[in-house]
Amino acid sequence: MPYNTKLAIPIVVVAIVSIIVIVSFYSYTMMSQFYSQPSIMMGEEQGKLTIDDSLKAAQDYIEYSGVPNLAVAEIMEFSNHFYIDVYEEDTGIHAFELIIEKDGDVYPEHGPNMMWNTKYGHHRGGMMEAYPESAEMLIDEDSSITYAQNYLDEYMPGAKATEPHRFYGYYTLHVEKDGNIIGMLSVDGFSGDVWYHNWHGDFVQILELEHH
């Protein structure tokens, strides 16, 4: 056998150990950077955020993103966290939704914001480019209310869908009962599917900032 295995095996072992060290160091460095990003950890103080603090955190996040013409449309405080609706000032179309935890963590909202948002979400342009990166949808605002109301009539009798906000690929609406906001849901602008936001908890208060 023309190979000296007594030399080859230690080389392989050292190489594999090197890989483990490199990957461990790299992972540690990446995680450190990730958690030190100002947009991810806005909680300068460990105390609970107020709704004004959440507005500042959202504005910092938008500024940090570097995307121009974005502003906060509304903030809804729920028992679990703050919900932030960000819109495009130049088009008036709602861009994306954020969640700010009460300890200051800021991150894009999961659910429709990730899966249905054709411009800012995970499926930008849609799966296999099926949907355009525009706010033009098959379902209009009035129809989105109809789809949402049909859902509520079946699963939350007495609740009412109001204020559809047009995002890229979907609408997000308030859910009200007896004139009070109790939650939110989204309607897919192409299929009419309804996705109830069951992760917010109980509604506390709302701060509306968008000027139509």
Binding site: P2, Y3, N4, T5, K6, L7, A8, I9, I11, V12, A15, I16, S18, I19, I22, V23, Y26, I40, S65, G66, V67, F96, Y107, P108, M114, K119, Y120, G121, H122, H123, R124, G125
Partner: protein, 128 residues
């Protein structure tokens, strides 16, 4: 009589380089597409959420993978054509196979492992 060559080391290194090229190519393509589809979850909190293609990040990794793959393939070819320099080319194959973990996903992991074995065999080759 045919010249003796480190054939096993050459073949393993060549396969490793090809796998690294494939991994690097996929990484580059994914980076150009904004990390969509191939690098799925990576985007959820990342640049594409904000409407930016993640060129700098995903594409940079892919390009490194391509470069490492090319170097490993070149090392394998040189190993085959100049077997007397087996320690030099074996070391190059070994080092770039280790580094390929940081770019192009190490040829899907398998590429890096084959490259390491190929490099080690090239270094330890002792013609009769």
């Amino acid at each position: 009589m045919a010249k003796e060559k480190p054939t096993t080391a050459y073949i393993l290194s060549l396969i490793a380089g090809i796998l690294m090229l494939l991994g690097g190519g996929m990484g580059t393509y994914s980076g150009m597409m904004g990390g969509r589809s191939m690098m799925g979850g990576y985007n959820m909190m990342g640049p594409s959420m904000m409407g930016y293609p993640s060129w700098g990040f995903g594409m940079g990794f892919g390009v490194f993978g391509l470069i490492f793959g090319i170097v490993v393939i070149f090392g394998a070819i040189m190993l085959d054509s100049k077997p007397k320099e087996h320690k030099t080319w074996g070391t190059i194959i070994l080092v770039f196979s280790i580094l390929s973990i940081l770019g192009g996903m190490g040829g899907f992991g398998i590429g890096a492992i084959l490259g390491i074995i190929g490099g080690a065999l090239a270094i330890s080759w002792s013609p009769k």
